[in-house]
Symmetry: C2
Subunit: 196 residues, 2 copies
DNA sequence: GCGTTACCGTAACGTACGCTACGGACCGGA
DNA sequence: TCCGGTCCGTAGCGTACGTTACGGTAACGC
């Protein structure tokens, strides 16, 4: 036996480097060389940690999901009412900080990549549906009187609104300012009260 | 003098080929060779018509805007009331047909490209703001009693919802079915009645 | 009809990509 | 201390990209 490495740690660091490059240079700028440079190693090490570029992409996509999922968990747990939880989850999905704008850019990059990569498309669908499920459960908690199908429709609509705000704010933060985003979400949420 | 060519026609045909490749292979698959093959010519002709690849991209982006703009014009003109016009414009922006799904894919591609290309980012902002202006004017026509700032906020929210639906439906048409999209838009529009 | 000129196909250049083969470096065990 | 195996940096392969240079070709004016 000899030299042992922390595989998980390397994967995480390389995923973070991948993400950083994605956010900064966009999808076309995401090359193994750029990732290696950002991570402070060589392409050899990158391809010893991940079998190929697609494996790296998949792992970075999972990392993005984990980050947003954890933040959603935290927002949900910190709220004391279902209504506050729903609002907190949607607000955190919007992008008030620079860090989350970066996430939004990466998200858009992966969305575009999913259009041509079936594996990434599967991941996107899976993660997005999980997000819809989460929101639908919260909507059902806020309005237990509504049929589940209604809650699900409302949830898909809310998710589309939030992701649309995120995507548009990534390119035009002036038009889709933080305040505009929160305003849009709150207005959409107000419908939960006024309708039967 | 000698051989004259129809520059505008060539630009249009090459833009269409660019768009077709974009929709089918995504942004990474958009190469000058692929465009030339799709257009039935060579890369030499492509680069005699457009100075470089970016010029081709810019022209294709303008073409996308022109198509969606024309369809919005038609939808708006065919409606007899402001409310019907607003609904028609938003519905046509959503993607009920395969042709518009293609447009949605191209739109997502250009959105991602805009994250790394300042020129495309400028174009995106310009076109998107024009769309927001159009929707805001329609909202103001439906509810003349509301202050313009309110109409604009509602418009940005509606645009974010529509573009979010488009983007998500491009990758997951099962979850974001045509009916789900129209349902979401109509529900958002219903707010125009119920609120003061 | 013929020369001139605009036009475009051909071919290739330089670059950067994903990926691989190989050899040295490093570390745990004896 | 030395051995053996694991690990990773180096170098380079083949490919495909954007772009360019050049020569052939087709059309217009005279």
């Amino acid at each position: 036996m000899a030299r042992r490495r922390d595989l998980a740690d390397q994967q995480q660091r390389l995923s973070a480097a991948t993400w950083s490059v994605l956010a900064e240079r966009g999808l076309p700028g995401l090359t193994l060389r750029a990732v290696a440079e950002r991570a402070g190693c060589t392409t050899g090490m990158v391809l010893h940690t991940f079998a190929d570029k697609q494996a790296l992409l998949v792992h970075a996509r999972e990392l993005l999901h984990r980050r947003t999922g954890q933040r959603a968990d935290a927002a949900q747990a910190a709220a004391d009412t279902p209504r506050a939880a729903l609002r907190a989850v949607l607000w955190q999905a919007a992008s008030p900080t620079e860090e989350k704008r970066e996430e939004a850019r990466v998200w858009v990059g992966f969305l575009a990549a999913a259009l041509a990569d079936p594996v990434l498309a599967d991941l996107h669908r899976s993660y997005n549906r999980r997000f819809v499920d989460r929101v639908a459960a919260l909507v059902a908690a806020v309005r237990p009187d509504r049929p589940p199908a209604d809650c699900r429709a409302t949830a898909t609509s809310l998710v589309a609104l939030v992701e649309g705000l995120n995507a548009l704010a990534a390119v035009d933060p002036a038009t889709y300012s933080d305040q505009a985003q929160r305003n849009a979400i709150d207005t959409a949420l107000a419908r939960l009260d006024t309708r039967p």
